[in-house]
């Protein structure tokens, strides 16, 4: 066993990865439902999810199902998902000391250039990625009491690690627009990203995401849809009552958010991505009508980079450079979100049609 903060040899990390993979295969054999494969297109790549039965699939698949595709012989990334309870298979013990779990669940000694390892706090999920094999593993003790944020944004860590190495940047932001281009809405939780994104469901604008997206810089800034979920705070229930009947988690507690799987109820509003024309920083001043004002690139960097970087492990410096490049490329604006909800998509549409953005 390695000591705290030291780096395990690649052999140790690969050995652990392979032991967990063997357990996944054992679970698939023991599971009544067996192996179930689903294929998705995410960020222009083909993702194969190998589920051990349907227990975890019921929680992981909904937010990804807008990307469902026919089976492929050559997926770019494969992730094996299983839980010990439905697979009747015990997990191997962690080969590191309990004190090695970092605050964000990263196990430093089992992270190197070949393998990424993290136990996601709150989700209680083990996340592994072998970069050389383009193979990930996602494990949970069981599929009971799965938190809404796992269902709303599943596999964040594994997707971030792999996508980051393949030219796609995980972004903590919402995105709405048209096929010809749209805006990225950025800021910390509670700043109004979701409100602005959800308000566009009743407009001419299409929806790419309300919380997390993937970004590419080359050949031009482009945002890809990652999850088709919309998260509703309790105050959203009053502002968007038409969405309440569609809640995926029918009885969220006051600490939880409600989830709407848009692919199931508003599929016509979803698009896979668009060219990023502008970065918008929402804020709520309490005015009736929404307004947009120009702001600096550094303001956009400060609004987007910290809230993205501190939710991710690994590649933070690379992430920062990419986000910095984005805000140097497209203009940034403050979006003063009005209490008249429909004024939000209206000002975004006006912006997209104006000469303030590159058309």
């Amino acid at each position: 066993m390695s000591v705290n903060k030291s780096f395990s040899s690649n052999k140790e990390t690969v050995t652990f990865f392979d032991e967990v993979l063997e357990k996944f295969e054992e679970a698939c054999e023991k599971s009544a439902e067996g192996l179930m494969e689903r294929y998705y297109e995410i960020g222009g790549y083909t993702l194969c999810l190998k589920y051990c039965g349907s227990a975890l699939m019921d929680h992981v698949s909904p937010s990804l199902e807008h990307g469902l595709r026919p089976a492929s012989d050559t997926p770019d990334l494969t992730i094996c998902l299983w839980d010990s309870a439905s697979g009747n298979t015990e997990m191997v013990p962690p080969p590191w000391a309990t004190k090695e779990f970092e605050h964000q669940g990263e196990i430093i000694s089992f992270n190197n250039e070949h393998i990424a390892t993290l136990f996601q706090p709150g989700e209680d999920t083990l996340n592994l990625l072998d970069f050389s094999r383009d193979l990930g593993i996602f494990w949970r003790r069981d599929a009971i009491n799965v938190p809404y944020y796992l269902t709303g944004a599943p596999l964040r860590s594994i997707l971030h690690w792999w996508m980051s190495n393949n030219g796609r940047q995980f972004i903590h932001g919402a995105a709405v627009g048209r096929e010809s281009g749209g805006v990225l809405l950025v800021g910390k939780g509670g700043s109004g990203k979701s409100t602005a994104a959800i308000s566009c469901l009743n407009s001419n604008l299409s929806y790419v995401g309300d919380d997390y997206c993937l970004m590419a810089l080359d050949p031009e800034p482009y945002v890809y849809s990652l999850y088709n979920s919309a998260k509703l705070n309790f105050d959203h229930f009053d502002r968007f009552p038409q969405l309440v009947p569609y809640l995926h988690n029918q009885h969220p507690s006051e600490e939880d958010k409600g989830l709407v799987i848009l692919q199931r109820h508003f599929p016509e509003k979803l698009i896979s991505g668009f060219t990023i024309k502008a970065v918008l920083i929402p804020r709520v001043l309490g005015n009736a009508q929404s307004q947009i004002h120009r702001t600096s690139a550094a303001s956009a960097l400060a609004a987007l980079a910290p809230s993205t970087l501190f939710q991710l492990t690994r590649n933070r410096e690379l992430s920062f450079r990419r986000i910095s490049q984005l805000v140097k490329t497209v203009p940034a604006f403050i979006l003063d979100s009005g209490t008249n909800i429909q004024s939000i998509p209206a000002v975004i549409e006006t912006l997209l049609e104006s000469n303030l953005v590159d058309n």
Partner: protein
């Protein structure tokens, strides 16, 4: 603070960029992030390029109109604050870097302010381990890590 003292950015913990005279600085170790504009941003850029304190003072005096004593004190104060926040650390550079003269007309000097933000700290301070099972896997019980 010695006038010949030099500093460097405390990398890799600290990452930063300056765009149009505004700097954004993030300390990945503790979750704090910072912004500087105008005079503060010019000082940050000069310090991060390992100019000596004396050179930084001369550069600011060259680019800004103001009381020489106030400019010197403000530069010292900001560098002290940057070091206290562990955004820069002493560097043993020999101080031979040359300050570039500005071709622009000097602008009015305003005291630089280091804006500090702590709203990301919760993300770093999550405690994932409340208890572990007999195998050693945690039950975290944490709230949404957003």
């Amino acid at each position: 603070m010695a006038l010949s003292a030099c500093y460097r950015v405390n990398s890799p913990s600290v990452i930063n960029d300056t765009i149009d005279n505004e700097s954004v600085i993030i300390n990945l170790s503790d979750g704090f992030y910072y912004s500087l504009d105008d005079v503060g941003s010019v000082i940050w850029e000069a310090v991060s390029q390992r100019h000596s304190v004396d050179d930084v003072v001369r550069q600011i005096k060259n680019q800004y109109q103001g009381d020489a004593g106030e400019i010197e004190a403000c530069v010292h104060d900001l560098i002290t604050e940057l070091e206290k926040e562990q955004l820069i650390v002493p560097d043993n550079h020999d101080g031979s870097l040359v300050v570039l003269d500005s071709n622009q007309e000097p602008r009015p000097f305003a005291k630089p302010v280091l804006n500090k933000f702590g709203d990301m700290q919760d993300l770093l301070l999550l405690d994932p381990i409340h208890e572990v099972d007999e195998k050693g896997w945690p039950f975290s019980g944490n709230k949404n890590p957003e």
